[in-house]
């Protein structure tokens, strides 16, 4: 595509990737900035213009109960970033908070072990639990999950004389997260009965023992948010990038086209055979990682205009397994709505006074 947009359109819609810096980063389409444009907030225009769609890229990533990639077009960076921040830090989950160590004769110190236990993701739907009240030490069935580890390592009498494999010599010498057993409190056995509650992954190595060492630990899990401690964050990571926008200002042929193709990620630029000579064409700018390699070549840097589309966000959300990623995004949006409502209620209660 060698059509170029008018300057104003470009400033409004594109972030320009230059050789020495990035330009037009901030949103400028506020009312009064551009004569002739009506930039007042209009919900109807927003609803028509924006749409979210899924990419079939989800299929390529095989673990799709745990990760998702989707596009959001027509929204501003401030709101997209708010969603991202909420996904990372404000969607609540359950995690081990209090660790009661009755017996720990292993080589792992109590506090190190407690730290590791806190980081293990617990598969319990946080929407079914409440936050614990401040100052409440005991915890009730509605805000606490109790788990227990009771492991003792013994020597295996049936091991052969000259083996050196710890799996053969010792019983229970490794403590995995599958050894965290759920102890139902109150009516939890009825509510969560069949599926039960436990760690998401059973093969997380927590400690190693030798004969004579044992672990006897009781854990309480509470509901919390990532802002308080990163163990409560429900996503492995959540990020977004803007859709890259590559425009060729002139037709590029022959050997230059070959070099141009190598400057971008594979699949972005394809060579078309026009009358015998290969001509470069931008096929799929989405695959580009925007390394700006093309700007390092003197003869190629004036041929290409690199930029990003300002309102097209490619989100990538990877869950730790507690909640599926689509539920996480819905919860994040609901949390932003709840924040707004909280302040609207405050405003209304102030007006009443």
């Amino acid at each position: 595509m060698s059509a170029s947009m008018s300057n104003v359109e470009e400033i409004r819609n594109r972030v320009i990737l230059g050789e020495f810096g990035v330009k037009n980063v901030h949103t400028t389409d506020f009312p009064g900035n551009y004569p002739g444009y009506d930039d007042t907030w209009n919900q109807k225009k927003f609803e028509k213009a924006s749409y979210t769609k899924f990419l079939l890229l989800i299929n390529i990533i095989q673990m799709d109960e745990n990760s998702m990639e989707f596009d959001m077009v027509g929204i501003d960076a401030a709101i997209a970033n708010a969603f991202r921040r909420i996904l990372l830090a404000e969607v609540p989950t359950m995690a081990v908070e209090k660790v009661f160590v009755y017996n720990n004769t292993s080589i792992i110190q109590d506090e190190i072990l407690a730290h590791r236990l806190g980081l293990v993701p617990i598969k319990a739907d946080p929407r079914l639990f409440e936050y614990r009240n401040a100052g409440d030490e005991e915890g009730t069935e509605i805000d606490t999950i109790q788990l227990q580890i009771k492991v003792k390592c013994t020597r295996n009498p049936r091991a052969s004389k000259d083996s050196s494999d710890p799996n053969e010599l010792y019983n229970n010498h490794t403590v995995y997260s599958r050894d965290m057993k759920w102890v139902p409190i109150g009516n939890q056995a009825d509510v969560f009965g069949e599926a039960g509650i436990g760690p998401v992954h059973g093969d997380i190595l927590l400690a190693q023992l030798r004969p004579g060492q044992e672990l006897d630990i009781v854990m309480h899990c509470v509901k919390g948010i990532g802002k308080d401690h990163a163990k409560f964050s429900p996503v492995a990571t959540a990020s977004y990038r803007l859709l890259p926008d590559i425009t060729l200002l002139r037709p590029v042929k022959g050997e230059m086209a070959e070099r141009l193709k190598r400057c971008f990620s594979p699949g972005v630029i394809e060579l078309e055979n026009v009358g015998g000579t290969p001509v470069a064409k931008v096929v799929n700018s989405r695959l580009d990682t925007c390394s700006r390699e093309v700007l390092r070549h003197e003869d190629l840097k004036n041929v290409v205009k690199l930029g990003r589309v300002r309102d097209h966000f490619i989100f990538s959300v990877e869950s730790t397994g507690i909640l599926p990623p689509d539920i996480l995004v819905s919860e994040a949006i609901k949390i932003l709505m709840a924040k707004c409502r909280k302040f609207l209620n405050e405003l209304d209660s102030v007006e009443m006074d």
């Binding site: 979210t52 689509d326 609901k334």
Partner: protein, 114 residues
């Protein structure tokens, strides 16, 4: 002027300089950061009656933001603030509905293909 009674901590305070008209007000939002601050600033700036809107985090150790709104004409500043909150809620509702509809579509497509 504090917003609420003394028994619980206020989450929203309104600060106004002496002598200034109702159009220039600073709101102090407690327990908030860039998440709500930036998105709310964007929605309030989209209002043509607003002459100035900005927010700042007074100190990174304290979780509160100063959110300033100045209006053109004689409009009380609480109005664009309230409208911004309402607009942001509407945006979120629409994004939520669209997202859930697309998720459902995608899952139906997947089920149909198997």
């Amino acid at each position: 002027m504090a917003g609420v009674e003394e028994t619980r901590k206020p989450v929203l305070e309104v600060v106004q300089a002496e002598g200034a008209d109702e159009g220039c007000v600073t709101f102090v939002l407690h327990e908030e950061d860039h998440t709500l601050g930036n998105s709310l600033r964007y929605m309030v700036m989209k209002n043509p009656d607003v002459e100035f809107c900005g927010y700042s985090i007074t100190h990174p150790s304290e979780s509160k933001i100063n959110f300033r709104v100045q209006t053109r004409g004689n409009l009380p500043a609480v109005e664009p603030f309230r409208k911004g909150l309402n607009d942001l809620t509407e945006v979120c509702q629409f994004v939520l509905d669209t997202f859930e509809a697309r998720v459902k579509e995608f899952k139906d497509q997947e089920a149909a293909m198997d």
